[in-house]
């Protein structure tokens, strides 16, 4: 009798154990997508706690076993590996599942540089990172269109992203100005501005504007680069006068397109001009040019 009771108890225990074990069974769909709702099916009976551990969040809620559990889109924002844990009466049961990124919705567009001299080959680069609406990187190949234009004219290029990244390289235009650099994928479009600025001064020339007993005023022609763009104001132009008393130097700034410097008057002096490493013409003061 005692034995029977013992066996019965053992059977009952096993039965309960298997029932509890079944209670923790979870069915998770294979096609979970970030930012979309998800239904988890549970089996068994009684109350339990569901814990979802994701790449960027942890969700914990009470559930009733045997009923479906709805995970809201805002709870499932991050793509990657998730772990679902159910804690009921028996030990915790868990299962890992994958959430894939949603469709491309946002771009991070890195346009470099923000300022570039005109007429230089391959100096502009654009890199677009493709993300879904929840900022998950979308590794699936996605067509990304890049366009670079100054004053309405320019070029377009379509590139397929690889590992979530698409990139292009481009040359700067001959004309100075603000170039519009746009990257677009699907409905997402991002605009950047690349300032194309004048290059080094070209054909630097000066002349005597005014001469007095003490001073001579030298002035340059309008200063432009080799493609005809005016060199920006503020650029340093160095005037160097050499005579028997020594060397006099004035670092003048271009203002309104020209540079002007007041140098000591001399009976016999040579004057040279330079901007950066570019040299200009030479003048002789006292005995004519």
């Amino acid at each position: 009798m005692r034995k029977v009771a013992l066996i019965t108890l053992l059977i009952l225990t096993c039965w309960f154990a298997s029932d509890w074990a079944r209670a923790a069974d979870l069915k998770i769909p294979h096609n979970a997508v970030a930012g979309e709702s998800l239904t988890l099916a549970t089996s068994g009976s009684g109350d339990a706690t569901l814990i979802l551990v994701g790449p960027g969040e942890v969700v914990k809620r009470s559930i009733r076993l045997g009923e479906d559990v709805q995970i809201k889109p805002e709870e499932l924002r991050h793509a990657g590996r998730w772990i679902a844990i159910v804690r009921g009466g028996s030990g915790p049961q868990s299962q890992a599942f994958w959430v894939s990124p949603g469709k491309p919705d946002q771009l991070s567009f890195l346009a470099r540089p923000s300022r570039v001299p005109v007429n230089r080959p391959g100096v502009i680069s654009g890199v677009a990172f493709v993300f879904d609406k929840n900022r998950n990187l979308v590794p699936q190949p996605t067509p990304v269109e890049f366009s670079l234009s100054v004053g309405g004219s320019g070029a377009k290029q379509s590139v397929k992203s690889s590992n979530g990244i698409a990139w292009v390289k481009s040359s700067s235009a001959r004309k100075a100005g603000a170039a519009q650099f746009v990257a677009s994928a699907g409905d997402a479009s991002v605009r950047r501005v690349v300032q194309q600025v004048a290059s080094d001064p070209c054909n630097l020339r000066m002349k005597v504007e005014q001469k007095s007993k003490d001073h001579v005023v030298l002035v340059t022609d309008p200063i432009r680069d080799c493609t005809g763009n005016p060199v920006p104001d503020g650029t340093i132009v160095t005037f160097i006068e050499t005579d028997k008393t020594g060397k006099s130097v004035v670092d003048a700034r271009i203002k309104k397109g020209i540079a002007r410097a007041e140098m000591p008057a001399s009976e016999n002096a040579n004057v040279t001009i330079a901007a950066g490493v570019v040299l200009g013409n030479e003048l002789h003061i006292g005995g004519g040019e």
Partner: protein
């Protein structure tokens, strides 16, 4: 006898106080020309201007106020940020009534030690040696209007938030034009020129790391104040980086690190460097000297001269610098001198002087 010990100790204490307090009078008449100069400078050191002035000959035609300004600086110059730290004197020649005394003074200034040499004339005046003080004459600039096309760059930065991908204004492109290591007894110096090749102003600093023969870093130093930090578009500045105690033979290579930053800047002031020439100074040393001319309408408080010396192949063979202890008044030439060694002077083929400056008002 009862009070013997207290009296002895009392006297001993007074004697010790007296020994500690023995000190010559700060206005005692000088017995020699050198003594007069020393007494005057000692008073200047203690900021006792009145006592210092008592050693000035009435024939100098300088009043106390101007005398103090000569020594203590004016117009926010470097001298106004200075105090006399030490001095040496040496009589150059002397007779019964007149003498010349050379003074070498060391000032502690806001930018470090500043050395000055001056020959002072000393005369006997009513039996006392007095200094003939050659007061500084401030030239009078005719009233005039200096038109300013105020040119400056302002920068609007991206916000503090981490909006990756959104564009920020890019730092200016600077380029090291040349780099030349020079070995000396005190160590190794790396010098050359750096150019802002961009179209916006750049805040530049140049640092270098020396790499030893077995690949380890020997040390990192920066050009600190031996360069101009704010470079306008296409402006070129020399730089010199000193590595004390390191020999050229220990070095395999150098890693240069030019840093540039876009900063708000002003195109003013324009400072011309006139009549530059290499000459010998009073002590017989080679110096590069000339005049600085502030072509703007505002005072430049502290000018800093940077001189680049080239050999006949155009290579930078030395970069020297010096602060000028007088402010640059508008349209008024102010002399400067930068020393260079005689053996270096022999190699110099050409040179170039640039001027860096600090102006109180413009800083704000």
């Amino acid at each position: 006898m009862k009070f013997a010990l207290p009296v002895i100790f009392g006297l001993l204490t007074v004697a010790l106080l007296a020994v500690g307090a023995v000190h010559p009078s700060s206005t005692a008449p000088a017995s020699s020309p050198e003594g007069a100069v020393q007494a005057m400078l000692a008073n200047v050191q203690g900021h006792d201007w009145k006592d210092a002035y008592s050693y000035i000959s009435p024939s100098s035609n300088v009043d106390l106020q101007d005398f103090v300004k000569d020594l203590n600086g004016r117009d926010g110059s470097l001298r106004t940020y200075s105090s006399l730290e030490s001095f040496t004197t040496r009589p150059l020649h002397e007779n019964d009534n007149q003498a010349t005394v050379r003074t070498e003074t060391k000032y502690s200034t806001a930018v470090g030690a500043f050395y000055d040499t001056r020959d002072l004339n000393v005369v006997k005046d009513n039996g006392q040696w007095k200094i003939v003080w050659a007061g500084e004459k401030t030239p009078t600039v005719p009233p005039q209007v200096i038109p300013v096309n105020y040119l400056r760059w302002d920068v609007i930065w991206r916000g503090a938030g981490d909006d990756w991908g959104s564009q920020n204004v890019e730092n200016p492109h600077v380029r090291i034009l040349s780099m030349n290591p020079v070995s000396q007894a005190s160590g190794l110096s790396i010098m050359g020129e750096v150019e802002n090749e961009d179209t916006v102003p750049a805040f530049v600093s140049v640092a270098a790391t020396l790499v030893g023969k077995n690949g380890q870093d020997l040390g990192t130093e920066s050009s600190f104040d031996r360069t101009s930090h704010v470079l306008l578009p296409k402006e070129i500045s020399p730089y010199r980086i000193d590595f004390p105690g390191i020999k050229l033979t220990e070095v395999q290579s150098a890693r240069m690190k030019p840093d540039s930053m876009l900063v708000p800047a002003s195109a003013d002031p324009v400072i011309g460097v006139m009549h530059q020439r290499i000459e010998k100074d009073a002590k017989g040393r080679s110096v590069l000297q000339g005049d600085l001319l502030n072509e703007s309408g505002q005072i430049v408080n502290i000018p800093h001269v940077l001189a680049t010396f080239y050999d006949n192949s155009g290579k930078v063979i030395w970069v020297s610098d010096g602060y000028v202890d007088h402010a640059l008044l508008p349209q008024t030439p102010q002399g400067f001198a930068v020393s260079l060694s005689d053996d270096l002077a022999a190699k110099v083929h050409s040179y170039r002087v640039t001027v860096n400056q600090y102006s109180r008002d413009w800083q704000d």
